[in-house]
Symmetry: C2
Subunit: 396 residues, 2 copies
Amino acid sequence: MTRLPVKDRFDLPDGIIYLDGNSLGPLPCSVPARVASAVTKEWGGHLIKGWNVDGWMAQPVTVADRIARIIGAPPKSTVLGDTLSIKVHQALSAALQMRADRKVILSDNGNFPTDLYMAQGLIRQLDVGHELRTPNPEDVADAITSDVAVVMLTQVDYRTGRMHDMADITARAHAAGAVMIWDLAHSAGAVPLDIAGSNAEFAVGCTYKYLNGGPGAPAFIYVRPDLADHISPALSGWLGHDAPFAFEPDYRPAIGIERFRVGTPSVIQIAALDEALAIWDDVDLKALRGASIQLSELFISEVEARCPELTLASPRNPEHRGSQVSFSYKHGYAVMQALIAQGVIGDYRHPDMMRFGFTPLFLDSDDIRQAVDILQEIIADRSWDDPKFTTVKRVT
Amino acid sequence: MTRLPVKDRFDLPDGIIYLDGNSLGPLPCSVPARVASAVTKEWGGHLIKGWNVDGWMAQPVTVADRIARIIGAPPKSTVLGDTLSIKVHQALSAALQMRADRKVILSDNGNFPTDLYMAQGLIRQLDVGHELRTPNPEDVADAITSDVAVVMLTQVDYRTGRMHDMADITARAHAAGAVMIWDLAHSAGAVPLDIAGSNAEFAVGCTYKYLNGGPGAPAFIYVRPDLADHISPALSGWLGHDAPFAFEPDYRPAIGIERFRVGTPSVIQIAALDEALAIWDDVDLKALRGASIQLSELFISEVEARCPELTLASPRNPEHRGSQVSFSYKHGYAVMQALIAQGVIGDYRHPDMMRFGFTPLFLDSDDIRQAVDILQEIIADRSWDDPKFTTVKRVT
């Protein structure tokens, strides 16, 4: 097993303390050569033959098997493709098919908006009176009533890091006769997962955060192996067909997880992702979790001791958090811009939340202490109170 | 304007005559450096800031504007993302919304299967009695009856290159009160297009064929500018929201074409595509079409003169063809494998079709004559009749 951190496997810019691996993971050192090979040797050299000789066609499943290990799923239960939004649509469409007699989709108001938006779009599209309920996250367990068709939750809250109890919520969903969908966007590579053990029907996630697949890396979907062959995919694209190259006139779904493929895989993104995932092959996910808790506990205690103006917005109990910590501060936006200007990269989420991700693959205690030194200084000397920080426009 | 061919802008392997640019375009010489820069300088160096400083967030529209020019669409009417299958679903969902009182989707049995499969999946998902009609391509015009909600056709047939008359079919669809969707997968970069002039409501296409975007390059969708703001997207992902980073609880579609975005763009693929599209900036599409017809006419006359065993499977009139030519031959599969083994790369489509693409960016008359020399020799000496060619397994 790999001893953490493995900083030397990442190409981090000098002078940067990167606390945003929960949003976009950094570049693994071996990715540029791998991508160059996919572009020059595979595409350039093999042209159309790449689909066969370089395994492009098989990669959405073979590369996903590396993710399956990370989320506690068996091989060939997970497939890569599309974006997380599309994977949400696939899981939700399938879940509603499975519970056609019920009309309630239960999520929570801390879910990442695209999950809610995709549910709203599907409800409008189906137009048979489905209802999306979004109670507060802490009220979800009690909201799983017998009219709920599907419970769809993001395990770790993108703003606060608050973490749902996967085993408990899934058991409650099943006891009520509902289907369970977990969005693992902020979980995969952040916390140990046992998706198979949870018995949840579906899980989806993205690969450019903790898994370091790069900007635009494809999403994944897990389908419980006993179910896959009973689902008629709504997004029935040719690569989910049992024989895509027979060019039959009628859709005939592939056996197993392959039917959740839709169109042509993003070969160059998958090359980058596959290389990034190689780092995980020897990582003990429990040791990673231990290191994550140690870093986040250190960060919280240092910030609270040295920056009393900031208020912890994440659960205090590390067992109830993923691998990120947020602090509220009314000048949080400007402070975050000032931090970034000094090389401490976190991010900001409306209305007042400074968000910091703890990624033990490339962070250690010295990084955390140094980040808090800079934060303390910015707040103490009010250097954030400058038009260049208060008015800067950023898309993300 | 660029004088064709521009072979020196492509990194083609030595000894290869590549007649499969209609399936996967070859590698433009400047793409590896551009991709390396996107990976190392943008992702590696700028990390999360790439969304702002490198324009990642805006690229699905800015890069699509290069495609808009090629398909005869105005700027900001086209957006990149997802795969062609997903773009078909978006266009078809929107079209059915617009004609809620009608239940017929009209396509043809020469359409690429994924378009038909996606329609079948959507019909099952909506479950309100839609019907997919697939007459023979030559019977489509007469099949546009007043019960047709939407006519969805691929302009150029993936097997034979047969080309629908876009202006005529669109006018007939509109006269019958139907919405028109064109799939330009085998048209964009192959034939001059005037999608705006056709007045069609939607067009979709892929970018890894004639546009040379690389394996897994994103698809595109065009929406007629007067319509975009009236459509409620079924796949309502966060990047189609009017303010994605406000993280509002409810979906509120962006103005214009942006609402047809779904999830996170595939940044690395888009970098490759953008660079590949730069080649097109100075290409006169009418001159390209002239060169394509000249090459394909030469190929047909040479093959018919020298290989009488083969039967032309494409329309003889070049005005009725896209930029590919197919010949039927009962031993076509083995002959194609033998051709590939000698460096002449075309492909094979069930049941007996040898398919050759004519891409004047990097092919000239000498290439065509040389390809026919090799074909003639393979057929004359029956060198294709060898287990290594008759039994080879290929995915594509």
